[in-house]
């Protein structure tokens, strides 16, 4: 390992940090409904998910051939600086969405980061537009629809079959089934997402000439990636768990079981049939579907709308941050160091902001999660048609994009903490964010 340069070392650490954020960002996918229905106690749930993620990391040696799945042209000699900048963009976006308690795809954040960094460093030629549509846009629309419809039908069915049974009598069975489904989701997540990080690290090692091209990752890479994602999972992204378990809809044991089974099935079917869907979007979709499937169930479209907006913003926002980071990192070693320092400051600021309204395993199931200002539409046939509130939210949230660039692009003294803190009110109405944007935008632009 004596040949690992400082840059490669930084890339490896950044990749592990991304892996860690990926872990705690995605705990909700497997465990949000499990926690909210009381199938498992919060701490038990995240511990189980962490162990399964760790096991999953060791299950397969089939390392992702390309870290971006062909979206970015990796053949033309992708530089460690580009990988580094892309990872920074993905990490910052992951943390911001976590602060807002919004489930968003970690893979899409990584794709967005790599695209942004490639655009800046290599230019338009480095990005494969067709692949962006195929691998990001279409799955983003398809995942929640497929999972939502499957969960909706399954929820209807299970309520119908067990309609003359006492809910208290059946709850235990449902919870057991839900735990099994959640375990499958965790295992699949560990296999897929830890592999991704291993692929990134291995690629960095290959570009640095430390390991031969097309070789399997060294053991220490597998172990560190597995441990990073497991630690992140165990930490628990409680904000996102609360949104998914309580914020989108109220989940009862039969719904939790139907949603989790639907999610596990869709994830396995899609990855097996070669049409990879985002785990996060599948799980969110199935939760909403199960919300609509119960008689009298409601989906909080204001929360769902914010979540969908976050999905739409993931790619460009992570790309913007990564692009700015790439611009700086291309300046040489001092630029790379600068990006690393700024990224660390941004992460610290977001963490400090999160402490203002901490959410952990003690209050993850509190019900007063959401603003009640948004539209609460009753269960209807329109699985994915958030009413007009969605459009209004889209507008204000689009304006909010520059906030995400601030922490990285702005100099140390600039409004990093204030911008991040201003975005703090968790899943509150978007209005408090907008004025902050106005303040944050100007300095950010000035320094970029």
């Amino acid at each position: 390992m004596e040949h690992i340069t400082l840059l490669i070392g930084i890339v490896i650490i950044t990749a592990l940090v991304f892996d860690f954020t990926n872990g705690f960002h995605d705990t909700a996918n497997a465990m949000a409904t499990t926690i909210s229905t009381g199938a498992l106690r919060p701490k038990t749930a995240v511990a189980m998910s962490a162990v399964l993620n760790l096991v999953g990391a060791f299950l397969s040696v089939e390392v992702a051939k390309t870290i971006s799945g062909g979206i970015v042209d990796e053949g033309s000699g992708i530089q460690p600086e580009v990988i580094f900048a892309g990872l920074v963009g993905a990490i910052v976006w992951n943390l911001l969405t976590w602060l807002a308690g919004l489930p968003s795809s970690s893979s899409h954040a990584l794709f967005g980061g790599l695209i942004g960094a490639t655009l800046v460093s290599v230019g338009m030629d480095g990005v494969n537009g067709d692949a962006v549509v195929m691998k990001v846009l279409i799955p983003a629309v398809a995942a929640p629809l497929v999972a939502g419809i499957a969960a909706l039908v399954a929820t209807r069915l299970t309520y119908r079959i067990a309609r003359d049974r006492d809910p208290q009598d059946t709850a235990k069975g449902y919870r057991a089934g839900q735990i099994a489904s959640a375990a499958l989701v965790s295992l699949a997540h560990g296999t897929n997402d830890a592999q991704k990080t291993m692929g990134v690290i291995t690629l960095a090692l290959v570009t640095g000439g430390v390991v031969a091209p097309a070789s399997d990752p060294p053991m220490w890479v597998i172990v560190s990636a597995g441990v990073a994602i497991a630690l992140g999972t165990y930490l628990g992204g409680w904000r996102i768990i609360r949104t998914m378990g309580k914020g989108l809809t109220d989940i009862q044991p039969p719904q939790g079981f139907a949603a989790q089974t639907g999610a596990a099935t869709v994830i396995l079917a899609s990855s097996h049939l070669g049409f990879a869907l985002s785990t996060t979007q599948v799980c969110s979709g199935s939760v909403m579907g199960s919300g609509l499937g119960r008689k009298g169930g409601v989906v909080r479209w204001s929360t769902a709308g914010r979540m969908v907006i976050a999905w739409g913003l993931t790619l460009p926002a992570a790309g913007l941050v990564a692009g700015a980071a790439a611009l700086l990192a291309d300046q040489g070693n001092w630029g790379v160091a600068m990006v690393a320092v700024l990224a660390a400051i941004a992460c610290g600021a977001i963490w400090v902001a999160s402490r203002r309204q901490p959410i952990d395993h003690t209050n993850v199931n509190d019900t007063n999660v959401n603003d009640t200002s948004g539209a609460e539409s009753a269960a209807g046939p329109s699985v994915l048609a958030p009413p007009s509130t969605g459009a209004a939210l889209a507008q204000s949230a689009t304006e909010a994009v520059p906030v995400t660039t601030t922490p990285v692009a702005a100099p140390v003294a600039a409004p990093v903490p204030s911008a991040a803190i201003a975005a703090a009110p968790i899943p509150a109405t978007p209005t408090p964010v907008t004025p902050a944007t106005a303040a944050a935008t100007a300095p950010a632009k000035a320094t970029v």
């Binding site: 999953g56 497929v146 039908v153 929820t155 006492d166 079917a269 049939l273 070669g274 049409f275 869907l277």
Partner: protein, 82 residues
């Protein structure tokens, strides 16, 4: 632009069928092992206190359902590992 509609349709179809089948089978298992509500015998006028337990047939059918689900989970793990 070449959108792989076939793969998408396949994912949708398989997901829908498997999800509904799994949830249905598992629910049948739960129904088989849980107590029937007492109102099933209400028509005769005799008031039975509490619920009647599951029949032997229902119970063995339920175990068959759970076994099916366990097999499906095992296949899922196989898919992850392979």
């Amino acid at each position: 632009m070449n959108i792989d509609w076939a793969a998408l349709g396949q994912v949708f179809g398989v997901s829908l069928v498997v999800t509904v089948a799994m949830v249905g089978v598992f629910t049948l298992g739960i129904v088989g092992t849980s107590a029937k509500p007492s109102r099933s015998g209400a028509g005769s006028g005799t008031v039975t206190a509490g619920a009647t337990g599951p029949s032997a047939l229902g119970r063995s059918g339920a175990y068959l359902c759970f076994a099916l689900c366990a097999a499906a989970v095992a296949y899922g793990i196989y898919l992850i590992v392979a």
